[in-house]
């Protein structure tokens, strides 16, 4: 009986059924579309934002190099850095630029020979998402007594601090500004909750204490691909060289590659 019923040619369905089928089909196609859009969003965030930011950050470095070149053409080019460490006195500290202005370039050999990222004023999305490392505007400038603090993405948008967990105590972190080269030495890292603003204090995590040393603090997401916590890397200023003395010998090649002069 049942089989016979099924074998019979189906009668033309009622108009209501046709409309219902159409609605179900459209809803189904929209749901599939939403799934594809979400997958594309993941691909965009994990891959395409890196492509875009890398290109934009190379541009920022190029512009910074052009400004440097204009300033440097007035001063005679210094010979290659001598091997013996020299004392150039207390580091020059320049005034902070306006929002989204370029402060300088950061070189971290631990992150790869060619690791060069721009340091830009401000920590809003427009800076961090495209321009590179963002300088917390209320913290000190490079070389100043106190805390020079920057933020950077761990993943997406260039992933500028992706390898922050691979820093080893003693690793050099070089900051190049128009004034010169500031050599920081990595000391330790710390994983904290996102609300811990005290890591940005002039003496990190010690509010109200008057600083006597020159800190560099870097903040990024933790864990990788997540943002439940923040990973903080602390470094201390080791030495500095004015721009006229040329870059430190260890990063001379990277500086030449990044800004076009040794």
């Amino acid at each position: 009986m049942v089989l016979q019923e099924k074998a019979r040619p189906a009668a033309a369905p009622a108009a209501g059924v046709v409309i219902l089928r159409g609605i179900v089909q459209v809803v189904g196609e929209l749901l599939i579309t939403a799934g594809i859009v979400l997958l594309l969003f993941v691909a965009w965030q994990l891959w395409w934002t890196n492509v875009e930011s890398d290109a934009k950050q190379s541009e920022v470095i190029k512009e910074f190099a052009q400004d440097l070149g204009a300033a440097a053409s007035a001063a005679p080019d210094a010979p290659a850095a001598p091997a013996a460490p020299q004392d150039f006195g207390p580091p020059v500290v320049s005034a902070a630029p306006g929002h989204a202005g370029t402060i300088g370039i950061m070189y971290i050999p631990r992150f790869g020979e060619s690791y060069t990222r721009p340091i830009v004023q401000g920590t809003t999305g427009d800076v961090l998402d495209t321009l590179g490392l963002g300088h917390y505007a209320n913290t000190a400038m490079p070389g100043a007594v106190g805390n020079f603090a920057v933020a950077g993405h761990r993943q997406t948008h260039g992933a500028v601090l992706d390898n922050i967990h691979t820093l080893v105590p003693g690793d050099k972190i070089y900051v190049q500004t128009k004034d010169g080269y500031y050599v920081y030495v990595f000391r330790n890292n710390q994983i904290v909750m996102p609300s811990r603003t005290d890591v940005l204090e002039p003496v990190p995590t010690l509010p109200g204490v008057t600083p006597t040393e020159r800190f560099l603090t870097m903040t990024s997401c933790n864990p990788r691909f997540g943002a439940e916590e923040r990973i903080i890397a602390y470094a201390l200023l080791d030495s500095w060289r004015p721009a006229s003395a040329g870059p430190p010998a260890e990063i001379a090649a990277q500086v030449a590659a990044a800004v076009g002069r040794g």
């Binding site: 089909q25 459209v26 196609e29 929209l30 859009v37 594309l40 969003f41 965009w44 965030q45 395409w48 920590t123 809003t124 999305g125 427009d126 961090l128 998402d129 963002g134 917390y136 933020a151 950077g152 993405h153 761990r154 993943q155 997406t156 948008h157 601090l161 904290v192 996102p194 609300s195 811990r196 603003t197 890591v199 940005l200 903040t219 990024s220 997401c221 691909f225 997540g226 943002a227 923040r230 903080i232």
Partner: protein
């Protein structure tokens, strides 16, 4: 829905295929330029700053 759109595109089959490829490309560009940046403001996977005062 997509079948309905495809059937209502003008021209021969090859033109309809070309038109639908262009439409897909336009949709992709619009998503990358506007939809995804807007969506990422509501996903906090990538916030790397400290404290609420500096949140983008």
């Amino acid at each position: 829905m997509y079948g309905w759109i495809f059937r209502h595109l003008p021209g021969p089959l090859w033109l309809r295929i070309a038109t639908s490829l262009v439409l897909i490309a336009v949709a992709l560009v619009l998503m990358v330029q506007f939809l995804f940046p807007w969506m990422s403001e509501y996903t906090a996977f990538t916030d790397s700053t400290i404290g609420s005062a500096n949140q983008p």
